[in-house]
């Protein structure tokens, strides 16, 4: 995170990670399409001829509170293709939170696992503590046949630590849920480390409600409730300081 005291703003970097073709860019595209015009910036895609993502996509979103405090969120995707190892490592550096976009199809289970191991290795290379990193998992492509069932995901989420979201990014389903879930986790962690409330009078709950409003009528509570989590790890907005 970058804090700019003179401009009263923070810049938060969120990285969408996952195997090739799991829908990371589609997630960003969908967020871009669903967010209000004053929120979204121009989506930047650095690409090449023969590859879907050479470097990355970047979508800047800006949210300003009534108190004039600005939160700039920069969303990045990493290239999923195995050969772009070093690009993934570079994009990951400085990330405040990670959304892992998995492919729901049963046949992709191995690829999901490999990409997650790759994420762990690259976090380690960037001197991150995986345990301390805000992480949300999204199972995308729920509209396809032969996918892992809701019951399977729920059972697994119940054993895991991070919230699991279900999405169909091409239909704008679950994309905002995932984003807000990750933003919630990330801001909670940043607030703890940097005392944003003390320094800027930043109210997380009110802020997240405002952010949710930029994407439509669904409240932040309703968004967060879509997550599958372990018992006791539900995403809650009650202050847990």
């Amino acid at each position: 995170m970058q804090i700019d005291f003179s401009a009263r703003e923070i810049t938060v970097k969120l990285v969408y990670y996952g195997p090739a073709l799991s829908g990371k860019t589609t997630n960003l595209q969908s967020l871009h399409d669903q967010s209000s015009a004053e929120t979204r910036g121009r989506m930047m895609t650095l690409d090449t001829r023969d590859d879907r993502t050479l470097f990355f996509d970047m979508l800047p979103l800006t949210f300003t509170t009534e108190g004039g405090f600005a939160v700039r969120v920069k969303l990045f995707t990493v290239p999923g293709q195995v050969i772009h190892e070093s690009t993934r490592r570079l994009v990951l550096s400085g990330a405040d939170g990670v959304a892992f976009i998995a492919d729901s199809r049963s046949a992709e289970t191995q690829n999901n696992a490999a990409a997650f191991r790759d994420l762990k290795a690259n976090l380690k290379a960037n001197n991150y503590e995986l345990r301390a990193l805000p992480l949300a998992i999204q199972f995308n492509k729920r509209d396809l046949p032969d996918i892992r069932t809701d019951a399977e995901l729920a059972a697994q989420a119940a054993r895991g630590k991070e919230p699991v979201f279900r999405a169909t990014a091409v239909k704008h389903e679950g994309v905002v849920d995932t984003f807000l879930g990750l933003l919630h986790l990330t801001l909670r962690s940043l607030d703890k480390q940097n005392d944003l409330r003390g320094k800027f009078g930043f109210e997380r709950r009110a802020f997240l409600s405002q952010v949710a409003a930029r994407f439509g009528d669904v409240t932040i509570e309703q968004h967060l409730a879509t997550a599958l989590t372990a018992p006791g790890a539900e995403l809650s907005l009650t202050e847990d300081v």
Binding site: G41, L46, F55, M58, S93, G94, N127
Partner: protein, 469 residues
Amino acid sequence: MMHEGPRSPTEPPAMGVVRLEDLVDQAALEELATSLHALFGLSVRFFASDGSLLADRVTEQVLCRHLQTIPGARAQCARTIDVVKRLVPDGKTAPHPCFTGAEYLVVNVTYEQRRLGRAVLGPYLSPEVTSPPPSLLLVDDKLDPADAEALSPKMPRLTRERAELIAAHVQTSLELILFSGHKAWLTSQMHVASVTESYRVLEDKNKRLADAVDRLRELDRLKSNFLATVSHELRTPLTSIIGYSEMLTEGMAGDLTTEQRDYIGTIREKGEQLLSLIKSLLDLSKLESGTMALRKATLDVAVVTEQVVSTLLPTAKKRGVALESTVPKGLARLHADSEKLRQVLLNLTENALKFTPEGGSVRLSATLVAEDIDDDGMGLVLGAAAEERLELRVADTGIGIPEAERERVFDAFYQVDSSSTREYGGTGLGLSIVKRLVTAHGGSIRIEANTPTGTVFVVSLPTAPPSSS
């Protein structure tokens, strides 16, 4: 400004307050102002966030020029301009009226919702204004209302809506410039970062390779030492075996039967073979460790080839193979160790005889070759004329060596196929010793095919400089 952990290449080094003047070239702003001015006949000014002028393209209106000559109007004009310069719109744009009835439109220049600076369009006059307003007529007693009536309509005419469209166009153009700049910046940052990363990975690999090479060198050195020690230890008892069998043959331990003499003869013969093998091993290890001393002298190569032919002529006759040397006396002088050169040629010739069937031939020849023949004599003027080399050829009509094997035959203990060891004998050391001896003389060795069948070993050696003859 604060940042945690290593700085990411995807973030600019310091955000702080972002300023238009840092992001866009002043010349680009001026070009934009000029093209807008040409398109709409409208004065355009770009201001930094702090109100300082960055670029402009202005046509002074005749009315304004006239007002400048009237003190009261001049003061009013200065006040208006001062306000416009400092006006920061809350939203995207804000109009500001001029006392002349005209209007300015102030446009926020933003990127990613950051206000970087402002553009000011105008003055322009709404088409609805048909006569000068009281604010103009009453600004100063010295202003003649007739002048105001006459000059006012010469202002550019523009509706507010149209001005807003132009403002949106200005904002979009600037945003595109900023976006492209930002994108190029990010791309170059990523390129630099990934090149740095690749360099680091490569350095890592290089280090591991260098370590591996060091380890292999050490192993190679150990192997050579071992070879030298073992050969030396083998030679000592073998000398006794040969010596005693010699004494027995000479009858120093009493008379022998014919059969006993034959047996002992075989023991001695095999002992000699073993000894010569051990000697080659010793030579090899000396050559590998670089401890073999060369006693160089200037010599005529023909003398050496003659000696080799005469030494091996009996063997050749026994095998029914023709052997001859066509090297003329005085062809070339070499600065070499005659003993070692002889060994090279003996080895090659013996080898050639061994692999040539009855009725075949082995021929020694020599030619002088100018080095770097492709240079076309360039550099002659600098005294850097191509050096001459002597190429010694040992050509046989034997079984030949497949092209793929030609490099490897010089490796120690290598034979083209192991079945040939049984058929032709030999240890596979001869050629590796030859190669090392030639290299020690600053020469090189290669293999060519003989037509229609057979092999040519070509030894290329530097000739002795004329002064040393």
